[in-house]
């Protein structure tokens, strides 16, 4: 082909383009195939088989049986409910607290950078370290928290070992780590708001509450939806914090989906079922991801 069209400019452009494609795109495409496409396909296939690490190969073909069993499994459905409860609570609380802190920071000029720099630190730390830090602080006998509470006459609690407190404690720690994320992004949105509408509203005699709900909220809506959706996605994936804090316990009170799937795969070695659960988790995330993509697209174009 190449020799026939030797003199045609069109073809030399095409060969150049092909060469460029090989140089610019091929290495990435191979890598993405290797680390994303193949593993995802492998998971999808095993989700239809009785794959188990106890024996070699894929095992027996089961069709949709894995999915049916998983959906009937109350341990799995409970972990879904725990995850949803966790996600809704932490996202809402983190958003409200983060918004308040961001509004406070937006109100000051002096030392704003100082406060801001310190407040965003927890967000950058690995959740493993965050979990360990709070485990030490909340230790029922050796922890500083129970000691300080005892000073003001409150008797200490087994924050992570008491099944009625554990999930709430985990949520609290998650909030400590992720409120900074909300502060960071919401403040970035607040500082870019135009001042004119506020001046006009002030002249018209609007109260501060009025200008917050009539001006700030509508103008900040795109940022709000981005943080809420993104944070929901990351909260649905929570694993590390549960691993260090409670290992899903006491009982299964803090067992979120990711932890449940991990156990199914690497403790009970049932890869087929774990893969089916993985795909059900993906189904849960897809609508949120889809919403996020629609919003972020309409913003960038």
């Amino acid at each position: 082909m190449k020799s026939i069209h030797k003199h045609s400019g069109d073809s030399s452009i095409r060969t150049a383009r092909r060469k460029d494609f090989l140089l610019f795109m091929l290495p990435s495409l191979i890598a993405l195939m290797l680390v994303l496409a193949i593993p995802l396909a492998y998971s999808l296939i095993t989700s239809f088989f009785d794959t188990n690490l106890k024996y070699q190969g894929l095992g027996e073909f089961r069709g949709l049986q894995n999915y049916i069993e998983v959906l009937k499994d109350t341990y799995f459905t409970e972990s879904v409910l725990t995850t949803l409860k966790f996600t809704v609570c932490v996202v809402v609380l983190e958003f409200v607290v983060g918004l308040v802190i961001a509004l406070l920071l937006n109100n000051i000029y002096k030392a704003r950078n100082f406060f801001f720099t310190i407040i965003i630190v927890p967000m950058m730390i690995t959740p493993i370290a965050v979990g360990l830090i709070w485990r030490l602080l909340l230790h029922s006998d050796l922890g500083i928290v129970n000691y300080l509470l005892s000073l003001i006459g409150i008797s200490g609690k087994a924050w992570l070992a008491d099944s009625s407190l554990a999930l709430g404690t985990v949520m609290f720690i998650d909030i400590w780590q992720n409120v900074p994320y909300m502060v960071l992004v919401i403040l970035a949105g607040l500082v870019t708001l135009p001042t004119e509408p506020y001046e006009a509203a002030a002249i018209d005699g609007a109260s501060r509450t009025q200008s917050f709900f009539r001006l700030t909220v509508p103008m900040m809506m795109p940022t709000f939806s981005v943080v809420l959706l993104l944070r929901s996605i990351t909260a649905l994936k929570t694993y590390d914090l549960i691993f260090v804090l409670t290992r899903g316990g006491p009982g299964t009170t803090t067992e979120v989906i990711s932890y449940h799937i991990y156990q199914q795969a690497f403790r009970y070695l049932e890869i087929g079922k774990a893969s089916a659960m993985s795909y059900l988790l993906l189904l849960l995330i897809v609508p949120i991801a889809f919403l996020f993509i629609r919003i972020s697209r309409s913003r960038t174009t």
Binding site: L32, L36, S43, P122, I128, H139, V185, D240, S278
Partner: protein, 274 residues
Amino acid sequence: MYKRQTKLEKVLTYIALTVIMLFFLLPLLWILRTSLITKVEAYKIPPNWMASLTFDNYISIFKDNTFGQYFFNSFFIALASTVVSVLLGAMSAYWIVRCARRSDRMKLAILVTQMIPPVVMVIPLSLIVKGLGLDDSYIALIVAYLSFNLPYVIWMLFSHYESIPRELDDACAVDGCTRAQTYFKVVLPLVMPGIMSTAVYSFIVSWNEFMFALNMTGLKTRTLPVAIASLDTQQGVMIAELCAATIVAILPVIFLSIFIKKYLVQGLTFGSVK
């Protein structure tokens, strides 16, 4: 909101912010303090507020517990995965923005990968790694980290390339540059700041990663998050040493995050908030 505030309001705002700041700061300071006192003092409740400071715990984790090795493992794996992602991703992002026919769809596909939970990836990846006999090797984790680093780098660099006028590329082409020459000599230097901040962020994410590392590393290649998580369960809780190890694991990240503070918002929202 932009109305003049009363003096009282100002004072109250500063007081509230100080309390909030302490809420985020004090836990970390307490861990720092515990890492700097002796093992015996660390167990004392009520705490001895006048305990003398020592670096013994730091010396001990590096001498007895090979934390130096874990620190190196974390550093090497995060750096290698970041470098590979940037080398591959920077060029692909450019191609997708400038040359690809269906760039919209490709962008979408790249973004979708960022939403996949790690637990979904870790099962097949670890089976493949074990099948190839690569467990407890650096290469396994470096390649596994590409599954989130590479799409992240590509996605983040789209907007940086888009901010460079296409006319610049065209002018180079008119001057007889090939696509590769245009890219390396003209475009690449212009997006360098974007590449650097993306790389630092991707390094932090790799440094902090836990689930893949838990599953694919052994004694030799263990990273810091896995090491501190196992220090916690090994021989009871060694409070003082655990605190020292935690400080070692989080200090580099705090330092780096201050360094890229300006770019954090973009990095954390996939560029959807600027």
